[in-house]
Amino acid sequence: MKSVMKRAMDRVTNSETNKYTVIGFRVERAGPLAQLEDAGRFGVRRLGVTQGGPADLHGWAWANHLAGNPWGTAALEITFGGLTLVAERDLTLAVAGADLAATLDGQALPLWQRVQCREGQRLAFAMPANGLRAYLAVAGGFAAEPVLGSVACVVREGLGGFDGRGSKLAEGDRLAVGEPSSAGASLNAAPDEARIDYRAPARLPLLPGAQVGDFTGQSLFRAFNATWHVDDRADRMGVRLTGPRLQCRIGSLVSEGIGLGAVQVPPDGQPIALLNDRQTIGGYPRLGALTPLAASRLAQCLPGQEVRLAAVSSEGALAAYRRFCETFSG
C-alpha cells in the first residue's frame, strides 16, 4: 500500500490531468458545519500548517469505499446535521459514520451502503441520532483545487475546501464532483462489525508517551481507571475530557511537535485529546497518544458522553490499524 504522502501526491496529479468536473449538488441549507476532507495535508507542518483530513477516518474511509472511490478521495464531513443538498444530476453515493437522521426526499436514507440518487432529489441531514459526524461520498469524489497539496478544509487556517480558502459550506454553494472510476465499487454495504454504535461508552486505546512517568502515581491510576466525560469544548482541533484532576510534576515543556491523538494535560489537570486540525506544536506534557482509530472514535462522541483511556502496546495497535487499512487497499 502506498504511503499517505504518496497517495496525496497522486491525488494532486490526478486533479491536474483530469479536469472532468460537473456540478453534483446545490446547497439549499448549510447547517452549522459541513466541509470537504481528503486524507489531509502532509509535508507542510514545518510551516505551521496543520494536517486536516477527516476527524473520523473510519466513517470517511467506508463512505468512499462504498461509493467506489480510491483511498484519499475527497468526501463531505457533516458535523451535527442541518444540511440540505439538492442533486443537480443522477449520482451514486454512500453515507457512513454518524447517523444524522438523513433522508432522501423525506424517506430515511440507509447508511453504510451504496445508494442511487436522482437529479432533483433532496438529501437532508437533520440532527445527531448516533454519533456526531457523517461522511457523504459520491462516486468520482467531490472536486476542488488543492491548496498545498490537499483540498482538506481547515476553517481556522483559511485553507482548502471548495473555494480553497477554508470556507465551510454555505447556502447556495454548488458542489463539483469528478468522474466516477470505471472499476466501480465492489461492496454494496459495510459489514455489521464496521457499523459502530457511537452511543456506547468508548474505550480509547492510548500509547503511553515520554512524560507518562512525570505524572503522579495516583494521577496515572486515575487516568486509566476513571470514567472521563467529553466536554462541550470540543471541535476538530481537540476534545477536552473532564474528570479527576491529573497532576504532572512538569508544568510545561519547550514547545515541540504534536502528533494526531496526543493527549496533553495543561496545569488545570483536565486532558485534551488533539485531533486533525490541532496546532502543530505545543508545550504541555502528554500522557501519550491515542491510536488513529481511537482519535476517530472520540471525534464521534457528543458532549457528556463517557469514555475510558486504555494503555496499549504499539504492536497490538499497529496490527489493528493495518487490518483496518487493508480493507480499503483493493
Binding site: G43, L47, E157, L159, L207, V254, I281, G283
Partner: protein
C-alpha cells in the same frame, strides 16, 4: 536532569506513527545547526515512508507511515542517522525583521500580570521585551506562527493555567523564554503584551509566512496613533476574556 533517561539525543514514542527525537534539553541558538541537518537526512532516509517532519527548538518530530515502516524499523533508521550526525556550519545573519507593536492593556491584557509576576513595572516589561533581538527557531502551532527566543530571563513567566479559546490576530505574547505573535485567531495559553500591525501570514505570498526560521526579529514599540496608521486593529480584548 540526571540518570540514564537524561542522555541525549534520545528517541521518545510519539504514537503509532511518530518518534520524537529529543536532541537538547534547553533552548540555545546553536541547536538549529544540529536540527536542520537531521531534518534533511530524515527526508533521504525515510523517502516515501515519510509523512511529515516538525522541527522545533530542541526536538524533531518524525511522522512516518506505519503501513510501510514499523515503529521499530523507523527507530532503527533514526538511531543510525543520529550515530554520525554532524552540525551545519554556523551561518551569520538572516534578515532582521521589525514588528511594530502597540503595547497596551486593552490589547495586551497580561501586561499587569507579567509585571506583578516579575516584580518589574509595566514600562520595564515593555522595554525589556522590545530591547532584545530575537531569533526565529521554528514555525509551528499555526500557519506562520514563529517561535522566537531567547526572551530575557527577567520576563520568564509560565503559560496560563487554562488556555484562552480565542486569541486575537497579531497578539504579541510571551511564555517561558519564548516570544511570538499570533498570525491567525487561535486558542492560546501565552501571556499577551500587545499587538503588532505587521502582516504575519498571507496565503497568497510565497511561503505564506512573513517570518522564516533563522530570521532575527525586533519588536518596535509604537503608540496608538502610529499603530492605527499602519492598519493595526485596536479592538480591545473582551472583558473577562
Amino acid at each position: 536532569m540526571s540518570g540514564e533517561g537524561a542522555r541525549l539525543p534520545r528517541l521518545e514514542s510519539a504514537g503509532l506513527d511518530g518518534w520524537m527525537v529529543r536532541l537538547f534539553e534547553r533552548i540555545e541558538e546553536t541547536n538549529l545547526a544540529w536540527i536542520t541537518p537531521l531534518t534533511r537526512r530524515c527526508e533521504a532516509a525515510f523517502g516515501d515512508a515519510l509523512v511529515d517532519l516538525v522541527p522545533s527548538y530542541t526536538t524533531l518530530l518524525v511522522v512516518f507511515d506505519p503501513l510501510r515502516l514499523s515503529p521499530e524499523e523507523a527507530r532503527r533508521r533514526l538511531l543510525a542517522l543520529l550515530g554520525d550526525l554532524a552540525p551545519d556550519e554556523p551561518t551569520e545573519g538572516g534578515e532582521v525583521r521589525e514588528l511594530p507593536t502597540w503595547y497596551d492593556e486593552s490589547v495586551g491584557p497580561d501586561l499587569a500580570r507579567v509585571a506583578e509576576h516579575t516584580g518589574l513595572s509595566v514600562e520595564a516589561v515593555i522595554d525589556c521585551h522590545a530591547g532584545t533581538l530575537y531569533r526565529v527557531f521554528a514555525l509551528g502551532f499555526a500557519p506562520g506562527f514563529a517561535f522566537m527566543g531567547l526572551l530575557d530571563e527577567r520576563l520568564e513567566v509560565p503559560r496560563l493555567a487554562t488556555p484562552r479559546q480565542r486569541v486575537p490576530v497579531n497578539s504579541v505574547a510571551i511564555a517561558g523564554r519564548q516570544t511570538a505573535a499570533y498570525p491567525t485567531v487561535t486558542p492560546g495559553g501565552w501571556n499577551l503584551l500587545g499587538r503588532t500591525s505587521a502582516r504575519l501570514f498571507d496565503r497568497d505570498r510565497e511561503g505564506f509566512s512573513l517570518l522564516a526560521v533563522g530570521d532575527r526579529v525586533r519588536f518596535v514599540p509604537v503608540d496608538r496613533t502610529a499603530f492605527e496608521a499602519q492598519g493595526g486593529d485596536t479592538t480591545p480584548m473582551e472583558a473577562g476574556r
